[in-house]
Assembly symmetry: C2
Homo-oligomer: 727 residues x 2
């Protein structure tokens, strides 16, 4: 446990907030800037590098006429590209909606979908577009007096104050608000969004284009993926946000992006605007070591086990193969990410170089005993925190995989927790269970069904139970111990087997309708159902609450340490000093540029149409449409030919700093015009979330010319081209 | 069987021989030219592209003063680089010698070897250096009257006439002669070599440098291998060739290559001279289909099985692991090659494109009925030949793997055949068993022991017997059928097991001394040994002879068809028209140039010293010497720094046309000075043996600057540098 040594000060918070307004960016590429408060130096640097917009209000302003005002959050990122609310985003962002609108007769995932007119557009249920209206710094309202609280109290205070700020801001307005922490809690901001609930699918290319290369090419360069799609936001006839209705009309954005069909050239200035989810650029070495030695290592091990289990099922059962395809895809994606992280941690020696940096920081403070002591204290606190976290890490990870985002038991735990939370006043609930989140909870329950397969679910639960059964003494889970009884090691498999059969045999929780019905039950009614899964969730409830409590405690400690630490690091390095990504809108500028992944190899910044055909094997994910093969053979380029590369550009590399959430971010030229749609980063720079690698970190986008080429020559999407003002 | 339709004409032979003297090379890169008869157009093209030598006699001449006169055959290729007979070749070419001079106390493979003076140089037993003295066209002496012979008679006639020409040429001179076929037998040449039998090891870098990247990087780019070594040729004090003796003195070559320590730059003219072994650029589609559908496919399958067997042994037995390491390495090398071949056949659609070419060739002859009929006839004969060859291909392949170059049984067959051949007059023997080849036979027997491991040998034999046991009816091997008796499929494994135990338990053939003793026995004495392996060889002898007869027959047919076919193709295409590689000296010119293995990726033509350190993992084959890591960290470049790449160059790419046998070829600049040492080709162009791919085919060499850098900064080989005239 943290001791009384823990002190906490916000004396550096002012410095951090000031950092928004004044800083000297070390490099154009690194740094995710809030467009609402773009530092003057950053804007000047952008101008020097190729931006032609005259002042920063042309980037973002409260009237909604800046280029960033056209950028929306749709889970990941999208951007308005027409006066009628047409949104460009990634194929993989719209994937779920297209999957749901497909039927056995009409598989829009495989065939693609093009609405020839508005009437043909199909609702993307569960999709919402968030349009950022305004941002307000609320640091004082959140942090005042926090220094007098214990870590756990501090967590509650921040949550409580945030909830109130949101409630007050949303009161009487049809808006959606969020309080977001910056600089590890050194600053807070209240962001207000217009939430558009009626989003529809307008045009999606076939999977063979939009997902070309699939898991194999995922995170790789060279890339040849047409990862784009078009949605459209609708509102009530009076212009207000509304749920889906036939009477709704296209939303008229104040600002939309103009398409620049000429695209970019190697070395050209470019910027991206989007909603990056999470970076961790200011973590101390103790945290990095925890990520390398525990988080990624154990996740890789457990994902591999999970994949083995799912693959074994899929190998013998074709139904399982279809049902768990999405699940498997998700694990493969995270597995590749986490392996890349481990590669990167090793390649860049992140822990050791951070340790060296910390040594240099301390050395630089030797003439300032007070600052030296403060830094030493912070590092000491981090050491204690991560040592403590490591102690319970395995148990907590297994519970998270089982109860948080895992197999059917996670649904039981969700229903169980909800039945307890629903009776509380809204402001006292866990934020995930507040009234405004109910649609998300229901969506979670519905989505679960999409990739549910009973036997596969059972096998994954078995694997996790085996893992839990081998936790060391002191970290064991009571409910699991009770299941195991006094079984010897050799008997455990049999015991688990005997436990799982009645569990899965006696439940009704695997039926979507049943879960939706139970969602509306009171706690007593839910218990009265006597469903074995609900009962097991009840037995695990306390242990899971203890885990969530630990998480809150860790967060409380960190919210005390990080602001001071980040300020120390920032002040010392004098380097790029921007807040970590936190799901809020960010702008980042750089240029079109290749890179050398290793000595002797240069990755060119553009790939070519003929490269799509070159990868064709006839087998997914490299099953290139015949139409494209014919176009390549006939050398049909239209106006999208780029003489510099001798072909139609397909994907491009830029030096932009991006991460998960940036998917779908518009790539803009110096005039703020649309030239591409970001969809990935490169494998070699996976650890950029921790350390930006100027020579290696690249963002991967679909070139606007490929989007237009596919629309024109493959899908004949004349209406889309016309709406984009092309032709 | 071939029918009476088979006709044969040498009317095109004159055209082919003339091709040596007059042709228009389509591209500088493609084409392996004989330096002795360099076509004027080729020399002019070389001059136009950067060669500064004034006339072609400066390339090669009978007085031995041309740059090509400095190039020797040492199994692969080497080149004299000092007035005292110092030879530069590859590390992998000298590997066997270094392995044999190593002892448990002193492992020169791992540590490298540097003789500080002549006395410290160590004999490379079994190594010879062949210095080309003169070449004479002997087409008429070989081909006269061949058209009246059957294929099988033709084979014998060519062999007989060649033997006589060699015997006459060697008579009374201390030289080594060979008759070589060009243009598939359309032309013949008698080459005369000085054979230097006393070759010694002067300087070899450590394996961690010379084999850096090992099997993993083999055939790959980017590459960071210091694949070089220095040998020295010795002669008797009177200057004549002699076996090893302490009294011998360094050979004084008439010409040696001058080192150009400044190396080359991207785009620079360069040429290579060496002894490429075999290319197949003029094969008809039927032959290509046979290579794709049978040769490479079945070899890959059988190599994989063999590797499985060897790996399983190595996994349980550390002794096996060490003993079969070389064997495994060889299979891995061929397996990677053959897989690359299959990839390339598919990628470039070689069979289909050749078929199209043949269609075009026929179409072009429609106005010339006689030529059309001739072409049609040739294609028809090829079709029949390869259909026939395919019939017995599986059986012949298994016998070749078992008896030709395989496990212990191949040694038994060698002894058995030798005991029958030795009693014949020399001129009537199989050329492999003539007196002049006895040292090679003994070397074969000694070398076999190096990677022999009884249990592994037994398991590979078992695998091949299983394969033989499943040959189809009509293709079965009598001796194997007798072993199997009437065993049902399920019993075969047991039968083979019961057969192998006494075979391996009762033999003395696994002992080198015993094999050397038996080498000197008469046929009757050998049989009297009653060794079960010799007895098995005897039972298989007739079947094996039938296989060798078939090979001679196929060759006889081809020697009738290929000259006409090549002439037809050459006349029609008007393209580069040079003879296939056949183990004779060739020159090829091109430039330093990178390539794009696939869209979006560019392979730079130079790799860098820091790239060696980047690949370091601490585990072989990427266990970079600490010394190099320190040099990289300290940025020690000396005079070998190339500002164009910001580092010391390590390996380089050129557009040269090369193949197996070119290993060790000197890379020369426009002045004929030494700038590198070729050691490999790139994976993407594996099928260049069949079709040269201008955009993809590259040769990989060690940059002379890396050789000198390693000598100076890692090994302190001051004496070598001085002898090279550097410093």
């Amino acid at each position: 446990m943290m001791t009384a040594r823990t002190r906490f000060s916000y004396r550096l918070a002012a410095l951090l907030t000031a950092a928004w307004a004044a800083c000297a960016p070390a490099s154009a590429e690194e740094g995710m800037w809030s467009p609402q408060s773009l530092p003057l130096e950053v804007f000047q640097d952008m101008r020097a590098k190729g931006l032609t917009l005259a002042n920063s209000s042309e980037i973002f302003n409260g009237s909604g006429t800046g280029v960033a005002n056209a950028v929306v959050s749709v889970g990941a990122t999208g951007a308005f590209v027409s006066a009628d609310g047409l949104i460009l985003t990634n194929h993989h962002v719209a994937f779920g909606a297209v999957q749901r609108m497909s039927t056995p007769e009409k598989n829009y995932i495989e065939e693609g979908f093009l609405a020839r007119n508005r009437d043909e557009e199909v609702p993307a249920f569960g999709y919402r577009a968030y349009v950022l209206l305004e941002s307000e710094v609320v640091t004082d309202q959140i942090v005042t007096g926090l220094q007098y609280l214990s870590p756990r109290e501090r967590y509650d205070a921040i949550e409580e104050r945030s909830k109130r700020l949101v409630r007050d801001a949303e009161q009487g307005r049809d808006v959606y608000c969020e309080v977001n922490a910056f600089y590890g809690g050194g600053a807070y901001r209240l962001d207000t969004y217009l939430r558009l609930n009626d989003v529809r699918v307008a045009y999606v290319p076939s999977r063979a284009i939009g997902e070309y290369g699939g898991d194999i090419d995922n995170w790789m360069w060279p890339r040849h993926t047409g990862d784009f799609s078009f949605l459209r936001a609708y509102v009530a006839p009076d212009g207000s946000p509304a749920d889906y209705s036939e009477a709704n009309v296209p939303y008229k954005p104040t600002r939309y992006l103009k398409v620049a069909p000429e695209g970019l050239a190697d070395g050209d200035f470019a910027m991206i605007i989007g909603y990056p989810g999470k970076t961790r650029r200011y973590l101390p070495s103790y945290a990095l070591a925890h990520f390398e030695n525990f988080e990624y290592r154990e996740h890789v091990r457990l994902y591999e086990r999970e994949l083995d289990v799912l693959d074994a099922q899929a190998a013998t059962d074709p139904v399982a193969r279809v049902r768990v395809a999405g699940w498997t895809k998700g694990i493969n994606n995270r597995l590749k990410n986490n392996r890349g992280m481990l590669d990167g941690f090793k390649r860049f020696d992140l822990v050791e170089s951070q340790r060296e940096m910390e040594g240099q920081l301390l050395a630089s403070l030797e003439s300032d005993p007070e600052a030296y002591a403060e830094c030493e204290r912070l590092l000491g606190e981090f050491r204690v925190l991560y040592a403590e976290q490591s102690e319970h890490a395995m148990k907590d990870l297994l519970m998270e995989l089982m109860l948080g985002r895992g197999p059917l038991l996670s649904q039981a735990m969700l229903l169980y927790r909800w039945s307890l939370e629903k009776v509380k006043p809204d402001m006292e609930r866990d934020p995930d269970f507040m009234e405004r989140k109910i649609p998300d909870l229901k969506r979670n329950i519905r989505l679960f069904q999409r990739s549910f397969h009973l036997q596969s679910d059972l096998e994954v639960t078995r694997m996790l139970l085996e893992e839990m059964a081998s936790l060391p003494v002191g970290e064991r889970i009571d409910a699991v111990d009770r299941i195991m009884g006094s079984a010897a090691d050799a008997e455990i498999a049999g015991v688990i087997d005997g436990f799982l059969k009645p569990l899965y045999g006696g439940t009704r929780l695997h039926l979507l309708d049943e879960r939706m019905r139970m969602f509306d039950l009171s706690h007593q009614e839910l218990l009265a159902e006597q469903d074995p899964f609900i009962m097991l969730a009840g037995q695990l409830y306390e242990e899971n609450e203890a885990r969530l409590e630990r998480e809150k405690y860790y967060e409380g400690v960190l919210s005390g340490l990080m602001p001071d630490w980040i300020a120390q690091v920032g002040r010392w390095s004098g380097d790029a000093f921007y807040p970590d990504a936190n799901g809020t809108m960010r702008l980042n500028y750089g240029e079109v540029k290749g890179y050398s992944p290793r000595d002797g190899v240069y990755c060119e910044p553009f790939t070519r149409l003929r490269g799509v055909a070159e990868k064709h094997t006839g087998v997914a994910p490299f099953n290139c449409p015949q139409r494209i093969l014919a176009l390549v053979a006939d050398r049909v380029y239209g106006r999208y030919y780029d003489p510099a590369i001798g072909d139609v550009p397909v994907n491009l590399l830029t030096t932009h700093d991006s991460t998960g959430g940036n998917s779908g971010s518009p790539v803009l030229n110096g005039r703020g015009e649309l030239v591409g749609c970001l969809f990935d980063g490169n494998y070699e720079a996976m650890t950029s979330d921790f350390r930006f690698q100027k020579d290696l970190t690249r963002s991967i986008s679909v070139d606007i010319r490929y989007i237009l080429y596919i629309a024109e020559y493959v899908d004949g999407a004349v209406n889309v081209l016309e709406e984009l003002g092309v032709k």
